[in-house]
Symmetry: C2
Subunit: 346 residues, 2 copies
Amino acid sequence: MMEFRIAFIGFGVVGQGLAEILVEQKQMLKERYDFDFKVVAISDTMKGSVFDAQGFDLEKLLSIVKETGKIEDYPEGIKGWDSLKTITDSTANLILEVAWTDLKTGEPAITHVKTALKNKKHVVLTNKGPIALAVKELLALAEENNVEMRFEGTVLSGTPALNLGLYNLAGSGITKAKGIVNGTTNYILTEMEKGMDYESALKQAQELGYAEADPTADVEGYDALGKIVILANTVMGANLSKDEPPCEGITKITAEDITKAKAEGFRWKLIAGAEIRADGSVEAYVRPEKIPLNHPLANIMGPTNALTYTTKYLGDVTIVGPGAGRTPTGYALLADILDINRIVKE
Amino acid sequence: MMEFRIAFIGFGVVGQGLAEILVEQKQMLKERYDFDFKVVAISDTMKGSVFDAQGFDLEKLLSIVKETGKIEDYPEGIKGWDSLKTITDSTANLILEVAWTDLKTGEPAITHVKTALKNKKHVVLTNKGPIALAVKELLALAEENNVEMRFEGTVLSGTPALNLGLYNLAGSGITKAKGIVNGTTNYILTEMEKGMDYESALKQAQELGYAEADPTADVEGYDALGKIVILANTVMGANLSKDEPPCEGITKITAEDITKAKAEGFRWKLIAGAEIRADGSVEAYVRPEKIPLNHPLANIMGPTNALTYTTKYLGDVTIVGPGAGRTPTGYALLADILDINRIVKE
């Protein structure tokens, strides 16, 4: 087995979430999964950077970052490298792209990923930008350079919805994917059913950290749209641009709509779907749907997410789990890294 | 990528189910998953055997088997090899063990699997016997001989419940697995809730092919027990023998119990569970449980199965899908074969 030499590009909540898991589980990961690693570089626009070919004392580094907010306070190593120099010049053979997401341009993450792949380094990311905008080009670049790229955390955080479709259900004949892929809106709808109005439910979601200060991307459906486009393009072979499919959020649903639906045996859910048409093309959408109460998706409540694949050989297969969060998203990186560890033998 | 040369040991409904999928999907499997194969040998106690290093015309072979029931009516190849000679002397590098299941001794399947592994051939099986009785010994033998062994189809057929725990949730800190893992009993309980008595529901399950003529293994919980023991031993590192955990089936549940539970907001389900205790040991059980109607497992109806993993880093992750059937179990073999194709590069 190879030794993984890891570089973090970005070191916010997701990166730190993974680093904490790595500290806790290092010995188990070696014993159970034959996974050997050291973290050799971190570069973050706000917190600074450090490279040390020996590998860090990760526990120490984490506690310094928590105390001072400055990576450069770590006593060893070379300081001051920017993200690109960290990718090209560090001894890392695995780059974790966990810097900020820009869904309009995908930058600087797309450049980070391309640079890493061209330098024959494996890449794992949770950053939706590069995947929503350029996944096919990036996968081709990975193949050309004989390295792996994984991105489970871009959809349903660490719940393995994406890898389920890509790997576990390989060859099952997936014709449709449909689910609840945004936890914020599902939380709001759940609270509204309990009697809260939309504004109060949104405010509560913001206080709990489920919704951003600007909730537009969640409540208007754009976050869900980005995820279903990623699923359609990677699992179902589509070529959708991320603004193409029709998208409607939850802002027009009233407390009255919810009560009325419930009385009729239905529940409003924000549904993201993608389906292969008879001509082989794929259509996708995000819209509120009234789901019968005895349907599995109707009973997914609060911030939980779920995705159902309809397949030729298995019928429906559904996965349910968390859709967001520091630790679940940090764990998504670990799941992908361990998958690369299974695949790569040199 | 290597070319897989496949031998079927046993060619009943599951083997034929896979063969049909392979015929339908050959081109797609090559294009999408870079999966090259030919089927070079089949040996079945009842139907006879054939070996042809060139590979069969699989469509032709399937139609001959359907017409005459005799593999030996296939016009090409060497006839008359038994299962062991087929494993050792054919040019196959991948053995599919889909002969009959004996949960008492595991034979002859255990000998088939051992022989294949010692001869450095990959093995995929849906046969619960060897996995329930000897999985650790067999996995060690595979590792020693540098070949792969997969057995997704032994639990929830092609629904990737086992590989989810083994691979996708690697490192997530699984502490518990709990679910509905027997479709026959879930179907009977569902029909009883609709008003049928136990005997009629069982009879209907038998007519639909969900239950065997002798339904003991299903209704007394032994089938579910075998599956939870496999999960505990492979995913949770336990060392349970298959008769160790307490096991209670559904035969004592009356229509009255079901009605009464429903009125109180519960539903009876046959639950199989395994949990890591504080001291690191694993306890498992099969028993009917009253599940609150708003719990995800309460809404799994008919022959559908579901399994929930409780994890340290993701909380609960649940998978729902078919638990049995000719095509879903045949597909389980394909999913495992494609996983080996991802792993093995020579």
